[in-house]
Point group: C2
Chain length 143, copies 2
């Protein structure tokens, strides 16, 4: 597998873990170092795995079903550090309406002995990028 | 100069160029490649130097004086790619009030023959992090 394929694969695994609210899967994606950084949309910067881990635990405990569809995915790999940017198209259902939000995202991965691991996640809301439609269309094709 | 010192120096030069609304200085900081990425707070992702350059031209043409004070600066360097995250404390004056905004920021730099150059800038507003005070205190120490 090329480095680019490996990066895209773990980036996809990140969104699958988020979608599944799977805490253990999320933990396995991160390098789990104290140099790790995470910036959730609108949040202060979280430094180090200890704080980042607790943020995912809290988010997963307070989040309902969401579907993630990354788009506009680009990558740059230099040696042992790789960057992906993408738009997270997030679909959720509130009061029978499907809400589509768009989040601009930078993800960084570092090469470890066991493979590439996330060392930074930075998501930020794209202004005026939210739309709504009746939720019936949401259930038709969950994939 | 160590890599870390060089990264911190160009990161500081980025904010000085922004503060001075100095288009040429801003251009010199970037690698000016079509793989460059820029996400201004709330904006869509800008891909490539052509679009990024025009965004700075537009921002500088429509922005008054702002003062930048980076805080919570951390860095990680791996080979030819380096990451800085910081909080941009931005002070501006609107209607005689000093507005203090906080933006969470990821900056990436790549090693080029002529030195480190910016390849990604991602800024995102920190929710509820804006405060205001009378502008008289703003003028006392513009540096």
């Amino acid at each position: 597998m090329t480095d680019r394929d490996a990066i895209l694969k773990i980036n996809q695994a990140f969104y699958k873990a988020f979608e599944a609210l799977d805490f253990d899967a999320m933990c396995n994606i991160w390098s789990q170092q104290e140099t790790d950084v995470c910036i959730h949309p609108g949040w202060e910067i979280l430094f180090g795995w200890t704080m980042i881990k607790e943020s995912w635990r809290a988010i997963f405990a307070n989040t309902g079903y969401m579907r993630f569809e990354p788009s506009e995915v680009t990558s740059e790999i230099r040696g042992d550090l790789a960057r992906i940017t993408c738009v997270e198209n997030i679909f959720s259902v509130v009061n029978d309406m499907t809400i589509h939000s768009r989040v601009a995202c930078t993800n960084l991965f570092a090469r470890h002995e066991e493979g590439w691991r996330m060392v930074l996640h930075h998501g930020s809301p794209i202004a005026s990028a939210q739309s709504m439609e009746p939720a019936s269309s949401f259930g038709d094709d969950p994939n």
